[in-house]
Amino acid sequence: MEGAEANESGWRSVRSIGFRIAALHAALMALSSGALVAFLWWNTGGYLDRQVERGLRGDLAAFAADHRAGGSAAVAAAIEARLAEDTDTEAIYLLIDARGVKLAGNLDAWPAFLAPGSEGAEGRLAREAGETTARLQALTFPDGSRVLVGRDVGARRQLQALVAESVFYGLALAVVLAASGGLLVAQVLARRTAPLLATAAAIGHGDLARRAPLSGNDDEFDRLAGSFNAMLDRLAGLMEGMRQVSNAIAHDLRTPIARTRAGLEEVLREASDAGALKAGIERGIEELDRVIALFEALLRIAEIESGARRSAFATFNLAQAVEDVAALYEPVAEAKGIRLETEGPSVLNILGDRNLAAQAVANLIDNAIKFTPEGGLVRVRVAGSGGWAEVSVTDTGPGMPEPVRARAVERFFRGEPSRSTPGFGLGLALVDAVAQLHGGRLDLVAGPDGQGLTATVRFGREGE
């Protein structure tokens, strides 16, 4: 069981992004240093070897010419001259006649590893200075005598071995460094993601108030944690909204349903004739219709707040939409002796949901007309700047005291305790939800001269 767990955690570390970064890092480092070393090797070591071969071939060609001109004696003389010039004793020469007797050179006997017919070879050779490695080439002249030329490459081979050794250790060091760098990166990754994971796990277990801590570096992880937290705040807001809705349903929906039920029961008990029964049932249906309307208003707000409506966004002329809504309410205002005025540009395009924007503006105008006494004025103003478009509705009604304004957008909150005005107390909550859906907000301030109320709904214009 424990073994299985260890295996499991082993797998997890292999599959972790940190491990993969470390492994990839090490592999890339090894590959690139390997490529560099191979290039250097070929370029330097190979160059030296090719240099030697060229020297040997040059010597043989010169001896061949000497032999044609003066026979073996000329070759022997040339060898003696060269040996006299060779100060660093790298060059090896040997000239023998057809019977194998040495004629000239600094080697005592024809080395065994250079077979009589062969062109060239490399092998160990005993010299005055001790045993060494030599590169040899041989040539047989027409009279049967043979010449051997060679270079002592012992020092070179030693150098090459040294280089190979340092290359090997260098590579090993690079791999170790890369691996530990990768592990370091992996560790940093693990350390930085740990608080996020812990927060997510805590939230998964029901601790919804947890937030991911920020390191203060304002790096990628901080930004990730920041948007993570913003998402959590949004979710918490939605949950709070849901809680409010269910509380509201518990309180404000129960009342009209209870009233309807009581009314129907009374009709059933007391109605003496068909006419009274019918009237009572009609009243019941009317009250149920109000409950349904209330329900629909609540669901609509919830739908808007969920953000699902953003899929229906399109560019539309907000100024025209406001004009249309004002025209819809103009006869209502007129019937109440209220002037309804609109002002602003005739074109103000925004990206949004035309129907919702119209409903929000309708709610504001509806409210304003409801609360404005006869002879009053409702002014609708449309304005736009670079990032914003706003619609403000100012009335000359009684206005709202500051504490009421602060709570006005809550669902079911109603300014007057008397509840003499019809409505559910959902109108401004809907306007606020619509504004937020459009990246804006609803502001309520006292009207000019402290009289009445100015409700301003802002719409964001990004993307328009």
């Binding site: 669901l299 739908e303 699902a308 309410y329 209502v332 129907n355 119209a358």
Partner: protein
Amino acid sequence: MRILLVEDDPEVARFVAKGLRESGHVVDWADNGRDGLFLAASESYDVIVLDRMLPAGMDGVRLVETLRATGSRVPVLFLSALAQVDERVRGLKAGGDDYLTKPFAFVELLARIEALGRRPRGEAPLTRLVAGDLEMDLLARTVRRAGQVIELKPREFRLLEVLLRHAGQVVTRTMLLEAVWDYHFDPQTNVIDVHVSRLRQKVDKGFAYPLIHTVRNAGYMVRADP
């Protein structure tokens, strides 16, 4: 009219079918999408009333799509408990002609069914609407009653036009709000009533008999009986 009702809830179906029969219509009922599609394809109906969500793998939207694919143009009204705007749009996109959310008032359903069933189909577009001594010229955009020109603002003209197109039928406030203003929300205050009363001032006041009648608990109707 011959109406096909596809609705899986027997209580709602019974209530709707009974109401429609009492209003003088012939009603066939199917309680699932397969039977509904079979009936819709084999019989000839004036209107199909269709529940949006149906059992047995054939929901309302699929049914309409299939039906439209066969070339049928019979008007379809969706009845649905799904109130979201997206659902409404999906229903209409699939080929539905109208969409009514549950719970609904029967008068609203009846008004919408009758409006759909009597809708002129395929004929040349109307250029003139007449009711009693009132005459509306849709091309010149003029209205005359008893030879007298009545000046109407564009919205008033549109409002009267919708009422005239459904002369003899009930037009509910919601239908007017949708048809004249293209709004799909409840404006709380009875704005429609105020607009209709304004229209009446111009169209009915001072004439021999009223054309625009209020139908209690339902809406309005243009009726030309002197």
